[in-house]
């Protein structure tokens, strides 16, 4: 009796989760479509290197436009957050292009007990049930909590293309890392996202050696798929750069730095993409490199609501200005700009006041007021003051 129960339990447990679908059709695909959303923004260099090494052609969907967002909105429930709507739009866009093999990974957890948002975990489930068209979906799972690690993830992907050779997969993973590391090195030195991506894909490696000093610097805490998508973020980075502001994003902070910053702030990492948000913000909050923090999140985002609140609490304690910008598919550009401008103006005024105080303390005895003012003006304009 006991043996029977044991056996039954064992069988049940084995079947419990993740019964992977084995590919039934023997067609070997030579093309793969990658939607330009969610994991594309952080992992595309890796995907490119990997698929290129296996000899698979990548088809990308078009850049996000209002049309694509509207396309996605048609398919899903209205409560779904903007990034997922955009993702569905991109998948439909790929199908319209004639690509019928689409790579939709399900990244469940990136470390033990560190999970992703449910919607990102369930991306393949959403796509499968929402789009009623025949197409092949490549849906590998990465779940380190349940011991499905990085290597398994890519073996499963390669299996869908009929590749089972271990060495080939390993070398493909290595070439993926090569492209990805180049990309990260470049962005860390200050190259912008688009440039770095282009360079990494073309095999170029360029570092920025000269760093321009600007009067204001700001850190943005946001998911990669919100911030680097020019339509979703309404070109936030370029807008800020036009206003003469130096922008720091999650790309300029390494993984170790952000992990350490979270620890120093007295928090525990809970979400898989917390490094992009809390990690970045915490890093710049602790080293006093920036004058303010901008939090950009989609409306109704579950993890963001907690992470932004966490940072807001610490910002209040340390007297760091923070603005929380929420975006959805109806966000008007005019209102968005006004809010950013007001925030930048406020930071400017604050900094000027601080410099004023410093000058008064040091220059009153030696120089006349007018002279000091002229020096102050020139220094603020050129931005040489720290």
């Amino acid at each position: 009796m006991l043996l029977y129960t044991l056996h039954e339990n064992f069988n049940r447990k084995r079947k419990r989760f993740y019964t992977f679908n084995t590919m039934t059709n023997n067609l070997i695909h030579k093309k793969v479509g990658i939607p330009r959303a969610i994991s594309y923004y952080n992992n595309y260099p890796f995907y490119y290197g990997f698929f290129k090494a296996l000899g698979i052609e990548i088809i990308l969907s078009d850049k996000t436009t209002t049309k694509i967002i509207n396309l996605g909105t048609k398919y899903v429930v209205s409560e779904t957050c903007l990034p997922i709507k955009v993702y569905v739009g991109h998948v439909v866009n790929l199908l319209d292009k004639g690509c019928d093999v689409i790579f939709i990974p399900s990244i469940q957890s990136t470390d033990y007990k560190i999970n992703n948002c449910s919607k990102i975990r369930g991306l393949p489930e959403i796509i499968r049930n929402v789009i009623n068209r025949p197409f092949t979906m490549i849906e590998p799972t990465l779940d380190k909590t349940e011991n499905i690690n990085f290597y398994d993830f890519w073996t499963e992907t390669a299996k869908a293309f009929g590749i089972t050779d271990k060495n080939q997969i390993k070398s493909a993973i290595n070439s993926g890392w090569r492209v990805y590391n180049n990309f990260i090195e470049m962005t860390k030195s200050g190259v912008s996202y688009c440039e770095a991506l282009e360079n990494a894909i073309n095999g170029k490696f360029e570092k920025k050696t000269v760093d321009l000093v600007k009067p204001l610097s700001i850190a943005i805490m946001a998911h990669g798929y919100n911030l680097f998508d020019e339509r979703i973020s309404l070109n936030l980075i370029k807008k800020l750069e036009k206003m003469d502001v130096k922008v720091y994003t999650s790309l300029s902070v390494t993984r170790e730095e952000s992990l350490k910053a979270i620890e120093n702030l007295g928090e525990i990492q809970y979400w898989a993409n917390e490094l992009e948000l809390t990690g970045t913000a915490a890093h710049y909050l602790l080293n006093n490199k920036v004058d303010g923090i901008i939090a950009l999140s989609a409306f109704g985002c579950g993890p963001d609501s907690l992470m932004v609140d966490e940072i807001a609490y610490h910002c209040k304690e340390r007297n760091m200005p923070l603005i929380h910008l929420t975006i959805d598919e109806h966000t008007g550009e005019a209102g968005f700009i006004t809010r950013i401008e007001a925030f930048i103006d406020m930071l400017m005024r604050k900094k000027r006041k601080l410099l004023d105080k410093k000058h008064k303390q040091t220059t009153i005895q030696t120089k006349s007021f007018e002279e000091a003012a002229s020096i102050r003006k020139s220094k603020v304009l050129t931005g040489s003051m720290q």
Partner: protein, 383 residues
């Protein structure tokens, strides 16, 4: 090494001696009756916060952030009310890897400390080796070393859970069929009190039989044609009658038999018992089996249960499904996206209701009435 530090961080310091502890926990439906029995038999003092109400919700909303889900707001309100009543130890379970639930305790601690309360929070992690974690948490709180008391407490608690579940199931069955309106409700309330007052193991074991016997005496119309509706969705919202605006009663009064697949006792049994000791297929396993066509992986929360139950219901002659979830609940939004397809392919009417603190009762009931009309017509047509 890092993992160990992290786990130690999660566990709270032991600042209050065991004999001075006054324990409280967040409310969810009838959970307070069995938990009270368990803790009292371990020799602890307990405080039960007042039931969830508009006043509690107001306190919760005032002190929590905008984007968080409804259950957290109520939990926080319960903590505040209990602390005001004199509690100094708060208990809560945690399940990382599900959804925002894993962050509840962390946030609540911070908020309460900011408000100036002094307390101890004991968290037990419901991820693997659950029985050990639970026992550890209760030992940590009470410092009780007598094994007989543990046996008494746990068997009392479990039996009370099962008794309440049985009473609830019978209530759902009897309510639409009763001849004198209000009989079933009265009987249920009477038994709740008796369950609460029972404090011997032997008596607690008899409760289930007695409840069945008592409910059988209520005169019912057995030949009445009653449509069956499944109630599925998020765990807290399903179990808490304040949050779901007593949807079970509304449906029962409309002449509909409600069946709820998530019962706290069942859930607890499958979660706490080591897997060797039960041979029945648990609710979750059944859901995974049935949902296979639509979902291939669990994505946290009760998403897979929702889908699995819908398919199960369609295959077992249930007439309709009402899916309820709090606003901005991540797993249930995924479920909402999947449900239309399930409904179409399995041919079963499904309605999704989203609840938040501003849900008006009138609009809510209109929607339910319209849905029930649809279900009834559907049933007639099938005949």
């Amino acid at each position: 090494m890092k993992m160990k530090e992290k786990l130690e961080k999660e566990k709270m310091g032991n600042t209050i001696p065991a004999q001075n502890r006054i324990i409280a926990w967040p409310r969810m439906g009838r959970i307070d009756i069995p938990l009270k029995a368990l803790l009292v038999s371990l020799g602890a003092k307990v405080v039960i916060p007042p039931p969830n109400s508009n006043e509690a919700l107001e306190i919760g909303v005032r002190n929590s952030i905008e984007g968080i889900c409804l259950p957290y707001k109520l939990n926080l309100a319960n903590y505040i009310m209990a602390l005001d009543k004199g509690a100094n130890t708060l208990m809560m379970f945690q399940a990382p890897g599900s959804c925002r639930l894993g962050n509840y305790t962390k946030m609540a601690q911070k908020t309460l400390k900011q408000m100036g309360y002094e307390f101890d929070m004991v968290i037990f992690d419901m991820y693997k080796s659950k029985m050990k974690q639970t026992l550890q948490a209760f030992w940590h709180v009470t410092r009780c070393i007598n094994p007989w008391r543990y046996y008494k407490g746990f068997s009392l608690g479990f039996n009370k859970f099962f008794a309440i579940d049985t009473a609830e199931r019978l209530l759902f069955y009897t309510r639409p069929r009763e001849i004198h309106k209000g009989d079933a409700e009265k009987c249920y309330n009477k038994w709740l009190q008796i369950v609460d007052e029972t404090n011997s193991v032997w008596k607690a074991k008899q409760l289930k039989k007695q409840i069945i016997k008592d409910f059988k005496q209520i005169p019912i119309d057995k030949n009445k044609d009653v449509p069956i509706v499944y109630l599925i969705g998020e765990f807290f919202v399903l179990l808490d009658p304040y949050t779901n605006q007593n949807i079970e009663k509304e449906l029962g009064d409309m002449g509909v038999e409600v069946q709820r697949q998530i019962m706290f006792g069942d859930w607890l049994e499958h979660v706490l018992k080591p897997s060797i000791f039960y041979r029945k297929e648990s609710h979750r396993e059944r859901s995974v089996r049935y949902a296979e066509k639509y979902m291939k992986r669990a994505i946290g929360g009760e998403c897979i249960e929702t889908i699995g139950d819908t398919v199960y219901a369609a295959k077992h002659g249930v007439d309709g499904i009402i899916h309820i979830s709090p606003f901005s609940c991540m797993p249930e939004i995924v479920a909402q996206n999947i449900l239309p397809k399930v409904s179409k392919e399995e041919d079963i009417p499904v309605m999704s209701l989203v609840l938040d603190e501003q849900t008006g009762k009138a609009g809510y009931i209109t929607r339910i009435e319209a849905f029930i009309d649809l279900v009834k017509r559907n049933k007639l047509r099938k005949k």
